[in-house]
Amino acid sequence: MPYSEIFNDHIANPRNAGELPGANGVAEETNPVCGDRLRLSLIIKNGRIETARFLAYGCAPTLACGSVLAMTVSGMRIDEALQLTRKQLVDELGGLAAQKQHAAALAIETLRSAISNSK
């Protein structure tokens, strides 16, 4: 399936990209099979993600999933963020071919690790 316009927009204009000074929840996860890498930095205060930023290396879906993840979780309560699913991210991107959904799985895994690592 072709990439959606929303997907293409995340590639052309990534949201919330970069390092996040003062982050208190950081995780960098790698897909051991394909080598894609996603780094998520969170500032968490009072049970809520105030800000989220991402860095990504990998195929276009990994970049787009990083972008949509950081955008989506900014402002979210931790309990809500922990409920976020791969399917929700894929839907936010306007769909992804089945063989590309591993990118959304990496994004969810990175989010959970960053929350778990938070101090």
Binding site: P14, C34, G35, R37, L38, Y57, C59, Q99
Partner: protein, 397 residues
Amino acid sequence: MRRVYLDHSATTPLDTRVLEAMLPYLTGTFGNASSVHMFGQQAREAIDKARRQLASLINARANEIIFTSGGTEANNLAIRGICQIAESHGRHLITSEIEHPSVRGAVEQLEKQGWEVSRLQVYRDGIVRVDDVRQAMRPDTVLVSVMTANNEIGTIQPIAEIGALVSEERAAGHRHLWFHTDAVQAAGRIPIDVQALGCDLLSLSAHKIYGPKGAGALFVRRGVRVTPQQVGGHQERERRAGTEPVANLVGFGMAAELARSEITDRSEYICGLRNRFERELETRIPEIVFNGNRKHRLPHLSNISFRFVEGEGLLIHLDLNGVAVSTGSACSSGTLEPSPVIRALGHNDELARGSIRFSFGKNNTAEDVDYAVDAVTRAVESLRALSPLTRVMVLDD
């Protein structure tokens, strides 16, 4: 938005002169070339002309050309066709690490059937060594198959030298030995002369030389037999059954004639564009690696790894900005095979994953090149800003 097509190694646009030559055979002159009546004879005459045009491109005789559906079929016919004929004399073949998937696939299938295969390494420059072919040669070797030029990095292989080695071997009594070369990428871009190359079989494809998709050919030297892979018809002198796609073959013939007459001008022009592109990129983007020997390579092709950036991400970025390129790596189902060709050069996975092939064509312009340089520069800067690998590099510094 401007659209710049830099993927001519994947396929080329149909030349309008080729289209004009084909059109009558899609409408009024529609006969089956096997038919005895006038409609059929017109089709037969057109195919015979195309065969002569193609033979002329590679300095062969017309009756040494077998038309196929494309380069993949030509490679399959060459490898399987020879090995099936020759297996009573030996079950060993020599090939390179960087062959096209259609050669790789045919060879792997033979391997599963018990054939032994020697794969020649290509070193950092992407070129096989004739001495390695000599070393790999065994009394039971029946086939050497080495591509004329590589499809991803464009490196030109020492085919005439390998042909000379095969001739020497035969002269020394190694009678059941044949030499095939896949010239799909090379034809129309560098001169191909089957007499000078000394090959027994050579594969060609129409759509790489501004002809139509769905037409290819295998040169089979007079006296060399191949087992047909398509049976059930008398076409192509019993070597490839099936009604000929007359319009496609007419187009192939015309494309071959144009390639032969224009090869020098085309190559000089395209090489100029490619060199301009590389010069500009070298100046503007740090941390890039040119893959393969930059001297002995096809004039239209440039393969570059951009460090800290993944090829497919870059490809999509460029596509969104109107620039069409390709990458040897493919990511699907969570598995990624970094380009086997770039890995064969001894590069690590990161460089193999970050490789992009830019392949220029006769319709590209200097403005296209400048636009592409800007687009690549912006895309690489943007992706590097996102890449955690860049961050690691900065911290290391």
